[in-house]
Each structure stands twice: as C-alpha cells, then as structure tokens.
C-alpha cells in the first residue's frame, strides 16, 4: 500500500544524508586516515588524495610504507587496523543484505 507520509519521511532522510555525505567528502577531516609514503626516523610524509603532510611518527611502533595512519596535529596517533576495518565492512554489508 502506498503511504505518502512514509514516502515523504524517507525522502527527507535521504536528502539529509546525501547533503551530509557530500559535505563530508569535501572536508579533509582529521578522522580520515592518510597513507604513509615516505619516512626517515620519526619524520614521515603521509598522503591523501594528492595532499601531502609532514607527520611525526614518535607514537607509532614499527611504521611501514603503505600504513594508513590516523593523524592529529601533525602526529600519527595510530595505525588503521585493516583486519578490523574489513570486519566492520563485513557487518555493514551483512546489514545491507538483510531484508
């Protein structure tokens, strides 16, 4: 059965999310990991979408080229755990497929 109220609410939600997501992409939020492309000692260079930043690696155990790093105020504060990221994504996809 067609329910105009529900359809309208869904549309509002969609528009809200779409705006939010677009705005989110434009901004380079500090929550977005950057990839380590070069380092010497504790000084490294990390990159995202062509933007490069100097990054201090003092707080990272065994950094490696290609690591995705969470960066705050010029310091890497953690490596992204890819196994956990994949597990998150698996759960999201599972949710997707649920009826």
């Amino acid at each position: 059965m067609f329910n105009a109220g529900i359809v309208f609410k869904e549309c509002v939600i969609y528009v809200f999310l779409l705006f939010g997501l677009k705005g989110g992409r434009k901004k380079m939020c500090l929550a977005v990991p950057m990839r380590l492309i070069k380092f010497e000692g504790v000084n490294g260079i990390a990159e995202i979408d062509g933007v490069k930043r100097n990054v201090n690696l003092s707080f990272i155990e065994n950094p490696e080229i290609g690591d995705y790093l969470i960066i705050h105020a010029g310091f890497a504060i953690q490596k992204l755990d890819e196994k956990e990221a994949m597990e998150n994504i698996r759960l999201i996809k599972e949710m997707w497929e649920m009826q």
């Binding site: 003092s58 707080f59 105020a73």
Partner: protein, 362 residues
C-alpha cells in the same frame, strides 16, 4: 579513499535506524557525545533528525576551545601583547573572545601571533627566532596533550631555551564523571570519544558502567560508525547490562597508545582544572611537571591580565553540559554567528553552537 564509501553507505544507515526504532520500542533514552568531531559529524550528517524522537542525542563538552575558560584566553592575549613574545597556536583559538579582546584583535594591532599545524612547527619558530620567546597555547584533550609533551621533551633534548607552553590541557574521564553524576542532565549512555580513546584506550571509562550503571561505546566518526554505536548503546541500556564496548576497533585498542601515554605522563601530571560553565573538576587537568618547569609559561612570565568578565547572555556553559540547546540562547543566529561570535561555542568549528548554526535550521 580507503574504506570511506562503506562507512557512508546511505542504505546501511537507514537499515540501522530502522533497527534502532524497533529496539527502542518507544522507550526514552538520552545519549551524550563528548567529542567535538562527533558533535560535528552528528550535525553534518543530520543524524539527530533521523533517529526516533524518543532518542535524545545531547552534545557535551567535547570542544577543547569551548571548555577553555576566559581567564586563560585573557592570559594568552596579555602574553601576545608583549614585545618579545611570539604566541603560537592552533588556528581555532585565534577568534575566541576573551574578557575584552581576542588573539585576532591583538594580531591586527601588531602582536606576533602565529598559527601552526603542529607543536613541532612552534618549536621551529623558537629555533629560528632566538631573540624572542615563543609561547605555545597548550589546550586540548588527551589526543593533543602527548603532541605538546613531545615538543617539550624535544626542546629539552635540543636545549632550546626560548620555547614555553601555556598549559590548560584537560582529560575527559573526570569530566564524564561530573556529567553522569548530574541527574538534571539525565545521561543513559556516552558515545565515547574516538580519538581521545585512541590514546587512553577503553579502560579509563570502566567506572561509568561499574559505579553509575551507564552505557559506553567508543565510536568512529563516519555516519555508519555513529549509528552502529547508537544501536550498541541502546541495546546495553535496554538489557540493563552497561559496559564499555569499542565500535571503532579499527583504530582504538583497549590499552590505547602506550607510547603517547608514556610521553604525556613524563611531562605532565594531573591537576584540578576549570571548565567553562561547569567549574573546577577534580583531577580533570594536566600541568607541567617540576622537571620541565623551564618550559612552563605560567612559571616564567609575569603579565598583567585584565579582570575576567563573562558575557551574561551567553549560555555556552549550559550548552556544554547538554542542559540547553544553542537555539535556546537569545543571541543565537541574531547577535552570535560564526562571523561575529559572542561565545567560544560559536567560534570553534567543533563547537556545539557552530554545529547547530551550520547544519540545523532551528
């Protein structure tokens, strides 16, 4: 970008919201976030408007600039007026109004105020300007404090004698304790801060479920992270089994970042600290240890600071505790805007008033 699209998947968000509605089943629950990046993300993605009405999402004191009291800003302003001092700061401090002035106004009048991206940049300014004293404004929570500690250690190692920190760092768990104990706010659970927890881990929050019977989930910053965390929290509340869970496992580990913690506590020690609008919270601040007092601006500079004044109309203090919404402030959108901020909560990009101004039509 790595994995980003999955964590912004609209269909997944809608599904989680549907599930949240079913689990809530009409029950009233209030959750508070205490991280400025969460405040911004919740507003930006319109999450408050898509969750059921009986789920209240409150913003807490997660914006470091906002919780910094006026007397600190006044002190920074007084230092910036001194001829031989360069004040170095992260950008969001520049426009915060103090009692009578701001760093931006001092800069316009010729004060040497420089914006840096990292403390190491401030240290370089000190090295390049040996005839001046460089004072870095050390504000921020556990995410930022280790980076400032690292710069102080580096200054000591390199024997840089003209680098100082005006320290007003804060730690989050004691503030959460004060908030959870305040029944007027009525918090059922915390969306725990993702980056603070990257440093401190999940253990420091354990007292919240254990002593206060309230839920805790450490959340990531993408919209899917946030709705998953909300679902985890309301499940804990409804089952009556509060605990500390980590949703942001791809970054946060139970023990946090031990290297950063070690650096932080080598240079700083806990102290009581004043939060704007909330007052002094026991053990909620960090001060520079005696061994590093040569780098403590508080110890090394005497400046005359104007009498502290607060704008009586600004209800920032109540907003920071989740007791009022920004639109309940008389000045919101009228006299107080991001271009002309009256209070700190409108200045910082992470402030609750700024978030409501930008993303809410209320």
């Amino acid at each position: 970008m790595k994995y980003l699209s999955e964590f912004r998947d609209i269909k997944a968000i809608q599904k989680y919201i549907e599930r949240i509605k079913i689990i809530l089943n009409g029950q009233k629950i209030s959750l508070m976030e205490v991280c400025g990046t969460h405040t911004m993300a919740i507003s930006r993605y319109g999450i408050r408007s898509i969750v059921p009405e009986n789920l209240r999402l409150i913003s807490g004191p997660g914006c470091p600039v906002c919780v910094t009291p006026n007397y600190y800003i006044d002190r920074a302003v007084a230092l910036a007026k001194e001829e031989d001092i360069i004040v170095a700061t992260f950008g969001d401090m520049l426009r915060v109004p103090g009692s009578l002035s701001s760093l931006e106004l001092v800069k316009i009048k010729g004060g040497d105020v420089r914006i840096v991206y990292s403390t190491m940049d401030a240290l370089k300014i000190a090295e390049n300007n040996p005839s001046k004293n460089v004072v870095f404004l050390g504000i921020g929570f556990e995410t930022t404090a280790p980076t400032i500690a690292a710069s102080i250690k580096e200054a000591k190692n390199k024997n840089i004698k003209n680098y100082f920190v005006l320290c007003a760092h804060k730690v989050m768990p004691p503030a959460m304790k004060a908030l959870v104990a305040n029944e007027k706010i009525g918090i059922d659970g915390f969306i725990c801060p993702g980056h603070v927890s990257t440093i401190i881990g999940s253990n420091p929050y354990k007292f919240i479920p254990e002593s206060y019977n309230k839920a805790c989930v450490i959340a990531g910053f993408e919209p899917v992270d946030i709705v998953i965390s909300i679902e985890m929290l309301i499940k804990q509340v409804i089952k009556g089994k509060p605990e500390v869970e980590i949703q942001y496992k791809r970054v946060v580990k139970p023990d946090g970042n031990t290297f950063a913690l070690k650096t932080m506590y080598e240079v700083f020690e806990p102290c009581d600290s004043e939060w704007r609008g909330i007052g002094v919270i026991e053990g909620s601040g960090l001060k520079i240890k005696k061994d590093y007092s040569d780098f403590d601006a508080e110890e090394n500079f005497e400046v005359e600071v104007e009498t502290v004044r607060e704008n009586k109309e600004c209800i920032c203090g109540l907003v920071l505790q989740g007791l009022k919404y920004p639109y309940e402030c008389k000045l919101f959108r009228k006299l107080c805007t991001p271009e002309n901020p009256v209070g700190a909560c409108m200045v910082s990009s992470e402030g609750t008033c700024a978030a409501y101004f930008k993303y809410s039509d209320m």
